[in-house]
Symmetry: D3
Subunit: 333 residues, 6 copies
């Protein structure tokens, strides 16, 4: 585990002796025709720029995105933004025991608590066929990948453990809907919620950056999930055919519309519930992150976000409890 | 209050002495060129067909949709469907103390319980400006209309008290989302949820049938709600301008997309949450009702539902608790 | 095998002693209030109307769409359309050795010739992994279903053996494209062509009429095909992972656009070729059938065809060879 | 009022002693790593670039977009474009009596003439309720804002007084349509035309540049207008409810389609007339400006204009009167 | 010329001795199995229903839509609608000197006045090449067809002389726009307005009913117009190539968008003006007609109009001049 | 004919004495404020970058895109890309006998072979009217342009002779479809295939680069083709009107949908065949070129291609014949 200070906590002049992840690496050329190495370096708290002007040739031949390096130097500021002046740089070695994933953003929620929530909910599934299917699919290896993966490359829950966090949110929403609508088959819906994005463990690679795999682009997480359920259900004796079809239907239809890449639209109550629970979880997370990322500099409006078809607004109206407290103070003090 | 038996509970040959609502009323002509009166009559449980062949002229001159009549006759069956043979029919009179609304479908939830839920939630709003605004808008008269209205003409929660039921569902979903996301301004979001469809009390008439009013068609419930909030907020001293704008934005954007008649798209975290909470509540209710209505006759598939762009499926897979019970029996007995 | 004359060859007054298929069966009521049985009866050449006015109650209780009946009666004409006057009707019995499928429209092409074409083409696949996969999938049972199935419910190649006919057309088009473009991987493309609609054998039922199965509606032929390939490829040792992914991609993307229910769009040269070869084969067949069906009565224009977004035109301009012959005669005789 | 020469009339070498508006202001860094101040300065005739290389720190700390500065220097040319060499720059002071709005582009039409046209037309409204409503809304303050505002941020009539110019064009078109169609209610239509974009006075800020306000983004000019009419009509005794609804309907529907942000589509003759009159006025102005801006350099084609989905063509075919004159000269001289 | 009374002015019991146009003619069968002839008969004021029960066989063999017949009988009423009881019917003969077109709805405007307007405007075209082109195209034969044709089959200006009426409206709108924008080439724009729908003279047949011709469906009025201009301009020496291209561009782009069947979108100022002038003229006429047709029976709302995507509203708010007069009376008397 | 070596075959240090085409030419300014000339130079095999730092003023005043120059210098490499160091540059002169078109990319197919294929197919048209029409249109001048033109500016077959290559592919596909469907009128379809893109000879200029002409933008190749056929068919006595309309319909509808700029959609069997044959030929070529261009550097995925709405994949799975050979070797050696 890394013990170094987070980049975001450092100030101008602070000394750097840090392992950092290479996010981008190019040779560019200054107008003086002098070539230099342009680096984007990151820990999980910040991505920072640095230029190297001398003796970078042999380094550049070996480096690739996702590498971890050990950097010596100090923090500078350039035109208002933090920058890194590098005095020495070397590749991390196995003995350093650092992992590229240590440098990726992670869910703010506690992983162990999320795991407990997930397995407790799985245990309370009544239908033994479905519970067995879940246990086959979420075996140790698969669950490790599932609990590590982001839910997406860049839009919502796009950070380590994001897929698990997102799945738990959907489960909670679905359980609430089952409380309201006893007509919903709770086991089927919760099982669908748990498995709906399972295919993202193969659609994405997320060891040192978030990228689509070839399989992810050619087949997609929806059909990967469906094929997985089909395979594993075959191993369970007497798995009811209609139950399997309804479960696969939940997976296939969970993006709600053909143009969102679902090959069938929702046709059951559980399917329409899962689609909208997914939307609710995904969109609030995405908008929250876009607002947080976009309004760092006291701007209330983000730039135009094409996935939202608008710019977004951080109204900054303070949480009303304090307001009332303040008022009460005024009234009673 | 009506004490007569529900139509749905009657059988062929049963005697009818019922107040019923006129849903449709036409004179048609048989191929024999003989004109007859074709009626659709309803209580809140069923709509039923009846033909009158003689002496209907003076009745036809006075009757209009939404009238209540007192019918004597008996139940018949014709080609598999129930039909009503009328021996006498007269208009209801004030002394009958019947109200057309008694013949409209109603929410299955208990009205008083829903009212309590609503007012309790309103009381727990912390922001005193917003709480005051809610109290001004939900005065006795308005709340009576609000708690009576359906949430729509025919798609979701399209029954008496449906608007209140729908609003309460959204409040629950929004409260859950606030538990997950402390960044949401809970008071603002819940206040928006309570008011988002308030304009439907003027967009629809729902005394004897569900129809759009002229105002509803020309202005629509979204802008009616916004104008109402604008009016009432002006009566509250020092109502913060930014709070009012964010609240009106919630109302205006709650249908999520321009093509769904929202004049602005959601631009705040609360707005995106309200839109998807509304969708979740509306769509599950709509699909449930479509499935229930469409699969009465043992068909698992409904007819094509254009608002869903598909036919819907009633899988009929039994709730899994019993399945497990059965299995447990097998295991332990 | 049926030896009776085709309905289409009969004339007014001809005696009927035919096995026919029940396509639709309703009780309706005349304006005189007299109920009657309205039937649509068909052999593979024609669908014809008939009404039964007496003693149909016990028959109606047992009959369902897709039944075969033996009908005695004679041909009539009513307002310009052929009609059937039934004097006697009974259900077919096992001893009659008739099969509902004998009454369904069939491909005009010779089945054995089509089978030969298909297996010859399969034999000439060079890649032994792909050839083995095809043999596993097109085993005796599956090929029987595959060679019987229509390619659709009503639009293109919607007749018995239509799926095989359609597949062979696509294979020819794809082979031509491979001749033009050596960059195409011929084995992969032809294998994709052969398998692309395999899932229709489970998506549709086609024993006595063409209907979607529950599985067909919930999962769809595209994902059914993909899951089948995934299953069978696992049985082949060392089946290359990239080859499997590219093949499944061909299946998934063959409808070309997300809104046409493909969960991924074509991303390889073979995928774009297969999509457009499929379109070419399907659309010409569909337009030909719509024109033939729609312009029986000397009208040059069909009714509006919603899938084509237009009415279609049968120009009737004679094949030009004869025209030239005629001219040549004029010139030289 | 400014008496300085317009920038557009100056030549290389001319001395500058001008008040100018800061449109953009950034510190950038040259490849030599030397920081410099990059300025965009404008009067109402031209926007021009200038770089400052020394002693700009204290200036940069105070400057913001929309400020007016007094610049001493002279005109240069750099790579074919005019540029400004600054020898001295200071902020304008109150005693300078300059206003940022003096530096914004203005309508080519005479303001007083436009005001007269507007008020004369208002006076000729026959319906006294509508005339009174107009007078309440267009009070001195509001009319000042209304007659100053642009009709948009960048597309059509996007210059000072543009909203008034645009409104007058629509009034003329609507009056012509009333001449053709006596069925139109002229007072209602003209009143709708006058008010349709009134909300733009609050949707936009236009003192020193054209930007959307928070209220503009959250609520939009359509609903701002509707709320204003609703408020003011309440002050007029016996304002007819149906007239108010039809007038608000005109405002709400004037963008014609839901996807253009109208919450209702046009449902009355006046509404469809206003929508298309608005389109006609807006689009010709927008295309004219795009062509004028895009074809300065003898190019006949503009760049691709995304709002028009095409590039635009300046055919340059001379006005035909002269052509004929020329011909006549040839004929008669 | 017909001197008979208009159908719309007749009352129940009035005697009929009228030439009328056959709009539809079918044999139907009553529930008694008795066949009867169902006719739709029309003069230019009304379309009326009539049934013939005896001896219609030989008549039915010869009759076709668009025939004129001479009918003796009298007016009846049936369930609130006027109906015709026929005692004798015969085909019109040449000696009757009646023309099917006398029975088609016509423009309310005076034809000669419209012709004068058209030719006067043509005379004032300054560009002699364009004026010559117009004279070549609007020769006597073509102008006769042009001034007779409707502007469409059923939507706007869909009556005899409608194309001329529509064209004149567009000319007026375009002249107004040229007054506002001197940048528009007035001759080019007016010439384009005159010719834009010329192809409708060949796209439609309108002798006895309004139908598309084969050429109209296969090629369409836009390209027919373009080909005509291309042909005729070739006959004019030195017709400027760029002028011809800009004129044809006006024709091709006048429906404004590709999806409205224009093969190019408007790219010149004149083209965008013509498109929106056409829209303005067409839509107001269409909405007016739909409202007039749909609100005959005191309903304020029409049925849903799919081309408008809404039902339409006849607000019935009286023209305001009288209102003010009344008020003035109150004030001054 | 050029005898110089192709740029693509040169290496670092090789001497250049080449005629090259100017593709782009700008003066830019280095950060040192030193202006320099930035050139893109090309032969038909490669486009290469070069900067000139001194004495370029008089050259820059005369140069324009599409000029041919004679360059002396040598090949360099800069940051991994080839670059050209120019020691001398002069404009080509007539005596050099070089043509800009020699520097444009060309079809890989042999031109004479393509011409033979085209004329042989034309000769085998049976219908003498159509054959005559083809001969009139493809006269020596027109065929020269037709056989030189690219089929597009940048998407498919966008190289010299590409239009002929594309047309021949479509002819082959159409002939195959005629083999399968005898209902197709082969002469009509093949004639339509030959002429469908003829208008591209006027829509595009392709002497030194590929650009749209004014006529191409204002009218488009579809209507240019239709007007040409209309003109030429008028010269043929007794050219059947219905044949002409069907042929023009083929041209007009060949882009298949209104939104793809066809003014009518396909309404005949031949039209639907031509549309999909065109799609098949165009899309495979476009995807092949995009993949080849995009995956030069060992990347398997291209960048996002907006016309395909995806990035494309070069799977690199080897043609299977060799694989089998290899296996056979393993088996038999």
């Amino acid at each position: 585990m890394l013990t170094q200070k987070e980049l975001i906590s450092l100030k101008k002049g602070d000394v750097i002796k840090h392992f950092l992840l290479i996010r981008k690496c190019d040779v560019r050329t200054a107008k003086s025709n002098k070539p230099y190495l342009s680096l984007e370096l990151a820990d999980s708290s910040l991505t920072i720029q640095s230029n190297v002007w001398e003796n970078f040739d042999s380094f550049f031949e070996k480096v690739k995105n996702g590498d971890v390096v050990f950097v010596t130097g100090f923090m500078e500021e350039y035109m208002g933004s933090p920058q890194l002046r590098i005095t020495n740089i070397r590749f991390a070695e196995p003995s350093d025991k650092v992992d590229p994933s240590d440098f990726l953003e992670k869910s703010k929620r506690d992983l162990n608590q999320m795991k407990d929530e997930f397995f407790n909910r799985m245990e309370s599934i009544s239908n033994i066929k479905l519970k067995l299917l879940l246990k086959l699919i979420f075996d140790e290896d698969n669950f490790k990948k599932f609990s590590t993966a982001p839910a997406g490359k860049s839009w919502h829950h796009s950070y380590i453990h994001g897929l698990l966090e997102h799945t738990l949110e959907i489960i909670k929403i679905c359980d609430l809907m089952c409380d309201i609508h006893p007509e919903l088959n709770r086991d089927l819906l919760i099982c669908g919620a748990m498995l709906h994005d399972f295919g993202k463990t193969e659609e994405l690679k997320f060891d040192s950056s978030f990228e689509y795999t070839d399989k992810g682009k050619l087949i997609g997480h929806i059909v990967i999930s469906a094929m997985k359920i089909n395979e594993e259900a075959k191993k369970i004796p007497d798995f009811p055919e209609d139950l399997k079809e309804c479960l696969i239907h939940l997976i296939l239809s969970h993006q709600g519309k053909l143009e969102y890449a679902s090959p069938v639209v929702p046709k059951t109550m559980e399917a329409i519930a899962l689609y909208h629970a997914d939307e609710l979880s995904a969109k609030i997370n995405a908008y929250k992150r876009a607002i947080q990322a976009g309004t760092l500099n006291e701007n209330k409006w983000t730039k135009f976000i094409s996935l939202a078809s608008t710019d977004l607004y951080n109204h900054g109206i303070s949480s009303e409890v304090e307001v009332e407290d303040e008022i009460n103070k005024t009234l009673f003090d």
